[in-house]
């Protein structure tokens, strides 16, 4: 895709040059969590761990708040930022729901077509 137009496919952030550039440090920080030692360091002192990377103030706040929608908006790619979720495991569908700004149960039913579990 030369010159992909981000508006070409609605509500779909293609991970192109611009997004890759914007999210590089955020994704690099998340990628580091494939190491057990880094997971321990992150869990022990998240702020100190984040200091090792050149995150923008917005990216840093998004990570600390586990704001998945915001992380993606700021160039985070799901395959990297998902590793942050491994520290406090949660289903990927919950991260999906957060992308849309929907309640998790509503997301499962309305987007994925699952049967409603609670009422």
């Amino acid at each position: 895709m030369q010159n992909p137009d981000p508006g070409a496919i609605p509500e779909t952030p293609l991970f192109d040059r611009e997004r890759s550039h914007m999210g590089y440090e955020l994704n690099k920080m998340a990628m580091a969590l494939v190491s057990e030692a880094n997971r321990k360091a992150f869990a022990a002192d998240e702020e100190a761990f984040l200091d090792r990377y050149k995150l923008s103030p917005e990216q840093r706040a998004a990570v600390l708040a586990r704001d998945w929608q915001e992380m993606v908006r700021l160039g985070g790619n799901i395959f990297y930022i998902l590793k942050i979720s491994a520290l406090n495991p949660m289903p990927v569908t919950a991260i999906g729901a957060a992308q849309v700004g929907m309640d998790h149960e509503d997301f499962l039913v309305q987007r994925l077509g699952k049967e409603r579990r609670n009422g």
């Binding site: 895709m1 030369q2 992909p4 070409a8 496919i9 609605p10 509500e11 779909t12 952030p13 293609l14 991970f15 192109d16 040059r17 890759s20 590089y24 994704n27 690099k28 990628m31 969590l33 494939v34 190491s35 057990e36 997971r39 993606v72 790619n77 799901i78 395959f79 990297y80 998902l82 590793k83 491994a86 495991p89 289903p91 990927v92 569908t93 991260i95 999906g96 729901a97 992308q99 849309v100 700004g101 997301f107 987007r111 994925l112 077509g113 699952k114």
Partner: protein, 282 residues
């Protein structure tokens, strides 16, 4: 020459591996999915391949964004399981068909495909899950593998047509290999899923079913599609389906669809498989 015994397309959703790790195969969410793979396991047990060529994408595990190979080819004797962030899964390491891999490296470069050649690299769920779905959880894998990595994460990703041509080259490499191994080719990824953006959770069951029905008899429909069409139809991560075109491109023009299976959603993904045999094969 080596014999191409068939082509398989399959999902590689990580949640499938997690379900296996937790023994959830018989729960209501998962049983219909796993049951659909029983005939595929029987098929491959009867076929007894020696080598599995697996086309898949790394999901930000072996490769980071610092260097992104459009195509990479494993030539190792052994491949370890990678830690994706949740700890290393307890499944056996893979044995590599290193001699055939080097033959394929020669064939690719001579055929004007130029892969990154990987002598030591760990493998993620993109290859683990297809192997588990077709071979279960043996103490040792019954086949040696040749991993082919395709970049489907960082744009520009390769075009569908290029995937098809890689499949055609793979077929020639199989036929020019002096060994007598039985080779199966796996195209993996998909089906519909989108994990990012406000369109996250996009499902397209009709398109998934059409893909499974048509990839055997009518691949022409898809190989000329743009990448944008794949993203629009199957979701941003569902565009992984371009990798099935490598598998389909290495098969005969005429194939029979021996079986297919579809289930949705597996986690956030349309999931399933197809097994193809060349029409001329016994």
């Amino acid at each position: 020459m080596a014999e191409l015994i068939g082509g398989c397309g399959t999902s590689h959703v990580p949640s499938i591996g997690i379900a296996l790790d937790r023994g959830l195969q018989d729960t209501p969410d998962w049983k219909p999915f796993f049951d659909g793979y029983i005939p595929a396991k029987e098929w491959i047990a009867e076929q007894k391949p020696d080598i599995a060529v697996v086309i898949f994408n790394d999901h930000g595990n072996a490769f980071f964004l610092d260097r992104v190979p459009t195509l990479a080819l494993g030539v190792a004797e052994e491949y370890q399981i990678i830690d994706e962030g949740w700890g290393k899964r307890d499944i056996p390491a893979f044995k590599g068909a290193a001699d055939f891999s080097w033959h394929l490296a020669d064939a690719m470069v001579e055929g004007h495909f130029d892969p990154l050649i990987c002598r030591e690299i760990e493998l993620d769920h993109g290859i683990q899950v297809p192997m588990e779905l077709f071979f279960g959880r043996p103490a040792e894998w019954p086949v040696k593998i040749v991993p082919i990595f395709v970049n489907t994460v960082q744009y520009p990703i390769p075009t569908p047509q290029r995937m098809w041509e890689l499949g055609q080259l793979l077929r020639k490499a199989i036929e020019s290999w002096p060994g007598n191994e039985r080779i199966v080719v796996f195209g993996t990824g998909g089906l519909t899923h989108q994990l990012q953006g406000a369109r996250a959770g996009f499902m397209n069951r009709d398109a998934d079913k059409a893909w499974l029905a048509e990839i055997g008899p009518n691949p022409e429909k898809y190989r000329g599609w743009t990448r944008e069409q794949f993203v629009e139809t199957f979701g941003s991560e569902g565009a992984e389906l371009i990798m099935w075109l490598v598998m389909r491109g290495c098969m005969d023009a005429e194939v029979r669809t021996v079986m297919s299976h579809y289930y949705a959603p597996a986690s956030m993904t349309g999931a399933g498989m197809v097994v193809l045999e060349n029409e001329g094969a016994a």
